[in-house]
């Protein structure tokens, strides 16, 4: 019985680590958004007022996906 509890705990921690793996995609996505904004800004520095708020919005959208993974990990650790 004790071994079963230990295996369940080990599985829980593995699951938490796997939930964190999704953040790799989010990191790449954020880099792509930033890179697109930098390219546009480099081509046309006067368009700063048009690019900057849209970039922040796109960053927040992408970040939210990473937050979903983080919330899953937190839920697993503390509730499950």
């Amino acid at each position: 019985m004790d071994t079963l509890i230990q295996v369940a705990d080990a599985a829980k921690f593995l699951a938490v680590g796997l939930a964190g793996l999704g953040l790799a995609g989010v990191g790449i996505g954020l880099g792509i958004v930033g890179s697109g904004a930098m390219n546009a800004l480099g081509r046309n520095p006067e368009a700063r007022d048009a690019i900057a708020p849209n970039m922040i919005l796109a960053l927040a959208f992408t970040e939210a996906i990473g937050i979903y993974g983080l919330v899953t990990a937190i839920l697993l650790i503390f509730v499950a």
């Binding site: 922040i56 919005l57 970040e63």
Partner: protein, 289 residues
């Protein structure tokens, strides 16, 4: 002079790391700051009748009180040439209104602005007030432990009910405006009669409208909770100087998340009231400000 301050800050930072968790583990001392306990659910502070008041609810009340006090004091003796507080509040309102008008156009900006500005100010003030020193230091201790187990105030965004309530308000706002402008024809977005692909797209539209509830809630909740955890952990690991950097990050995140919540509600509302005929007119309105 600057060099002296930098050297002093570096020395204090190293002292902090040594006194904190890493140094304590290496040198074998007791932890200087107690191990932070992370709670997902809010903790109860007191009960009125049968109604449980949690520390996040108390903190939301405090934020509301501060907002009302600030705006009440600022608008008491309003003059055409504003004084300092009124000028500051006017700057905030004008900046928000410019943003809303830039996305929604003049006609809808006036009607939508009260709700959107309230969402922004409420979320931003809740996030920023949680960085004040009274939030982590005032609380109740349990019997037999010498550190705080239940804080008196806790950032209202870390309780999932507040982001959920705001998400429900935003959802109802968007749908009501969709029905107001299009009447029952608003349902034509979701129920498209035609080939199966059109019907499938309509179904996806319907699901995506409801998923907004989940995404709004978890975006704000996750950011606020993760920010609180990061601050606790950094204060636990390195006691001084280094957490200041993370307080700066939390100021930025609070402001950005408020802006994103308002901006997304605004964009979805614009999409809900858009009639597919006058896209070009709306685009030129947005560019010409």
């Amino acid at each position: 002079m600057v060099k002296l301050v930098v050297v002093l800050a570096l020395v204090l930072a190293i002292v902090g790391i040594l006194l904190g968790a890493i140094g304590s583990a290496l040198l074998g001392n007791d932890y200087f700051v107690p191990i932070p306990e992370v709670h997902l659910a809010p903790q109860e502070v007191f009960t009125i009748g049968g109604f449980v008041v949690t520390n996040t609810l108390l903190s939301a009340w405090l934020t509301t009180f501060v907002i009302l006090l600030l705006f009440g004091l600022g608008t008491r003796k309003m003059s055409f040439v504003p004084g300092r507080l009124q000028g500051l509040l006017e700057f905030l309102i004008e900046a928000l209104f410019g943003f809303v008008k830039g996305v929604a156009g003049e006609k809808y900006a006036r009607k939508w602005f009260p709700l959107l500005a309230t969402i922004f100010i409420f979320v931003a003030f809740n996030a920023w007030m949680a960085l004040l020193p009274i939030y982590p230091t005032v609380g109740f201790t349990k019997e037999g432990s010498d550190h705080i187990t239940t804080h008196l105030f806790r950032s209202a965004g870390t309780d999932i009910n507040m982001p959920l309530a705001l998400a429900v308000i935003a959802f109802i706002f968007i749908e009501i405006w969709g029905f107001r402008v299009h009447g029952l024809g608003y349902l034509k977005e979701f129920i498209r009669i035609g080939n199966p692909i059109q019907m499938f797209i309509g179904l996806i539209e319907l699901i995506s409208h409801f998923i907004r509830l989940v995404s709004f809630t978890f975006r704000l909740f996750g950011n606020m909770l993760a920010g609180e955890i990061v601050l606790f952990m950094m204060t636990f690991l390195t006691i001084i100087i280094t957490p200041v950097i993370f307080y700066g990050l939390e100021i930025l995140v609070g402001g950005v998340q408020a802006l994103v919540f308002m901006g997304l509600t605004l964009v979805f509302a614009v999409m809900a009231v858009a009639t597919h005929g006058d896209h070009s007119q709306e685009d030129s309105e947005a560019e010409s400000h």
